[in-house]
């Protein structure tokens, strides 16, 4: 499915960054809408927040935190690559970004359950 010229670590890092960014951007309106309920309909906000007790929602939250963390660490790698002195270890750094994102989102998940 993945075309041969794309099948290498830094391209995967790119697509992860793009898809996580896209996912976060699409999530933002829902996130904002839900919070603004605090102003207009506080009862229904609590109704939504109660949904977070559902295990499936907890997994979805973990997914969102992972997207945020992986976009954060991946973005730091890109800015370091562009603006700091060159490092030839981009593949290791990209792997490190994913590992750090799992660490952060895993911590969140353990606190959530």
């Amino acid at each position: 499915m993945i075309r041969p010229h794309r099948s290498h670590p830094l391209w995967f890092a790119f697509i992860l960054h793009r898809l996580s960014g896209l996912g976060l951007a699409l999530f933002l309106p829902a996130h904002f809408y839900l919070l603004s309920l605090a102003l207009t309909a506080p009862e229904s906000l609590d109704g939504y927040l109660a949904l977070a007790e559902n295990p499936l929602v907890k997994v979805a939250e973990f997914g969102l935190v992972f997207l945020l963390a992986v976009h954060f660490f991946g973005g730091l790698r890109l800015m370091a690559m562009e603006w700091l002195p060159w490092s030839g270890r981009q593949k290791s750094l990209a792997a490190g970004a994913v590992a750090a994102a799992f660490l952060v989102s895993g911590t969140f998940f353990l606190q959530a359950v």
């Binding site: 010229h5 830094l10 790119f14 562009e82």
Partner: protein
């Protein structure tokens, strides 16, 4: 060692700018056979109308690059044994360039972008001036040296998905050329180069997928060169504001 009777199953893309499809050929396997040898054998023995491009056959001229099993390669220096999938190999024209016929692509857009990226020398002296001594160990010269072995084969350009999605994007080779000139002490107009790579299709569109660097047959690093241009354009922006 392969015996003379062994045959390769070769799929070659045939067509023109209107479209085309892969056609299958049987080619006898030989020792030390390159992908270009395979394509040439088909043209010389099976179908003389097969169009492709090559010149030096020793990895210097940059004219024989093609997609081999979906990956851009210099075909004259690619041993077919190294890329065989069982007995099969597919050969197609380079991505991201218009096809003229079969395996020959129109390289004009690729070279036009070299000029657009400021890739022409801006002289700092006339013929009457003495030759300026350059310290080969200076930081800028060492940086320029990393890019000068480019043979304009367009492998990086074909590997780059940013080129695919953004027709204006100058691409790795042209930007690396700009970076080389930017670091060349004998180039008189660094700001012109930075301006040329800061437009709509400039270095800032690069997403650092790194396919250019991965597939460059001369093991150059266009991704690093483009990162250098991003850094240089960003710092020049702050310098100019002061």
């Amino acid at each position: 060692m392969s015996s003379d009777k062994e045959e390769l199953e070769v799929s070659i893309w045939r067509g023109d700018d209107a479209g085309g499809a892969f056609e299958d050929y049987k080619v006898p396997a030989q020792d030390s056979q390159t992908v270009l040898d395979v394509v040439s054998w088909v043209q010389q023995n099976t179908d003389p109308t097969l169009s492709y491009r090559y010149a030096c056959r020793v990895g210097m001229c940059g004219s024989c690059a093609m997609m081999v099993n979906g990956v851009p390669r210099w075909t004259c220096r690619t041993h077919v044994k190294k890329v065989l999938d069982g007995k099969k190999v597919t050969v197609a024209p380079l991505r991201n360039l218009p096809v003229i016929k079969d395996l020959a692509t129109d390289m004009d857009p690729f070279f036009d972008k070299w000029v657009k990226a400021g890739g022409v020398h801006h002289p700092s002296k006339t013929r009457d001036d003495p030759i300026e001594p350059i310290n080969p160990k200076s930081i800028a010269r060492s940086e320029a040296d990393t890019g000068i072995e480019c043979i304009n084969c367009s492998v990086c350009y074909a590997a780059c998905d940013t080129v695919t999605g953004n027709a204006d994007y100058l691409g790795p080779a042209a930007l690396q050329r700009a970076w080389t000139l930017y670091n060349d002490a004998k180039d008189a107009d660094q700001q012109t180069i930075l301006d040329a790579v800061s437009g709509n299709g400039g270095c800032h569109n690069c997403h650092s997928q790194g396919s250019c660097t991965l597939f460059c047959p001369n093991e150059l690093n266009p991704m690093k060169a483009i990162a250098g241009l991003k850094r240089a354009t960003a710092t020049s922006l702050f310098k100019r504001k002061k």
